[in-house]
Amino acid sequence: MASQKLVRLINQSGLRVDGRRLDELRPIKLEVGILDKADGSAYIEHGKNKILAAVYGPREAHPKHIALADRAVVRCRYHMAPFSTEERKSPAPSRRELELSKVIREALEPSIMSEYYPRTTIDIFIEVLQADAGTRCAGITATSLALADAGIPMRELVAACAAGKVEGQVVLDLSDIEDKQGEADLPVALMPKSNMVSLLQMDGSLTENEFKQALEMSTEACRRIYEMQRDALRSKFLVAREEIAEKEEVAEVKA
């Protein structure tokens, strides 16, 4: 494929190639509980990203020797479908996918109360069906919902979004062309209630001040995405608590 012609990424009015302002998010759509067999699942469309996240667990640890005595082992597999990118990607896991599997797991695990399920595994599967930059962030946002869908107790949800630099300006939520031609990419995952950062990576070139700007921009966007996650959960699960038997009453009936 011939090298892409460079285009102006930010025009005179300060708008980007897709018409967004510098601090504007791409459209996001979230759906919870869309798979039948997985214990928990969620689907996200973030810009042109289309990503499926599934959770199996807690389940018996196989092989047994990987089990931990005091908590669940959390495993994560980030994988891109061969047709997800412009050039077909080989289905075999690449080094990038292995690194992302690790950092994504490290972004989500702090939110999981894995001490509830010793000697089990919680397996996370992220499949990128269509990629458009920001896949690890979108994957984290979706997986957090999938974990909630699976009924796994969590301290809070995790939301993620990248910021970056394009034509000298700090911008939010890079699209594919901005990621390829821009000067910096900074994916961030945030636990918004406690305001803690669980994923932080960067490549490119940023001054200390530009970095601070980009960090503020991405964490603020994470908070906005968190509200969308809560809406996605709320609309699916409204519990009429009065109708549910209390634990003691259940015991009475059995005896």
Partner: protein, 254 residues
């Protein structure tokens, strides 16, 4: 140890911002184009450079190629097993690679022999020999030392044919990136964690900076979390420390 850290001291009497004793020995492997052995406290990492020719990537026909690989060989630690690279060695290689690549430390354009046809490929192979904490910094410093130390044959292109001359030239280097890794332990942050500190840390933040204080790579690792303020603080500290170590490395290797 935790008590000590809370009081601002560490096991080996270092301050929170102190690096362990650093030694770099360039040129230890004569058959490689370049090499450097780093001793950072008890951590030992050897980096070797091989320069070969190859085809350029289709989307960058005028650029040479950089490829970084890391091996956590079993003799380096009771916790390393033989086998294909695991997520830790892949992360290590990719973080070191990012620092070199994003800072444009090597002028890849100058490694182009014939645009679209033939370029130089720089293989950076990182060999961890003794694991006592902070492999990222030690490996990247070994890689940097090896790159500075590296020599390649001068060449000329006549009628589409490459011929090598006897004289040697250094790699075309433009920047000297140095990563600084910090470990968060019980709310305190220390630089250059040794093995015991890594075993108790909640998470780690590596910040790689180039010669004009520009951040070129960052990587958070571990199952813990950072506050936004901690991150800003770590970034500030790392930029300053990187400056200090860069000068020391260049001096030791030249």
């Amino acid at each position: 140890m935790l008590d000590l850290i809370l009081k601002g001291k560490r096991m080996d009497n270092r301050g929170p911002l102190d690096y362990r004793h650093l030694t770099i020995v360039p040129g230890v492997i004569e058959k490689a184009n370049g090499s450097a052995q780093v001793y950072l406290g008890k951590t030992k990492v050897l980096a070797g450079i091989k320069v070969q020719t190859g085809d350029p990537f289709p989307d960058t026909p005028d650029d040479g190629i950089l490829t970084v690989n890391a091996e956590l060989v079993p003799l380096a630690s009771p916790s390393f097993e033989a086998g294909p690279p695991d997520e830790n060695s892949i992360e290590l290689a990719r973080v070191v690679d990012r620092g070199i690549r994003e800072s444009k430390a090597i002028d890849l354009r100058k490694l182009c022999i014939q645009p679209g046809k033939k370029v130089f490929v720089v293989f950076v192979d990182i060999y961890v020999l003794d694991y006592d904490g902070n492999l990222i910094d030690a490996s990247a410093m070994a890689a940097l030392g090896a790159l500075i130390n590296a020599k390649m044959n001068a060449y000329e292109v006549k009628e589409g044919e490459v011929s090598y001359k006897d004289e040697l030239m250094p790699l075309p280097m433009k920047d000297y990136p140095v990563p600084i890794s910090s470990a968060k332990i019980e709310g305190s942050v220390v630089l250059d964690p040794c093995l015991e500190e890594e075993q108790v840390m909640s998470c780690r933040l590596t910040v790689t900076t180039g010669k004009d204080d520009r951040i070129c790579a960052m990587q958070k690792g571990g199952l813990g979390v950072f506050t936004v303020d901690e991150i800003k603080q770590v970034v500030s500290t790392s930029i300053a420390k990187s400056r200090e170590l860069r000068a020391a490395i260049i001096e030791k290797v030249r």
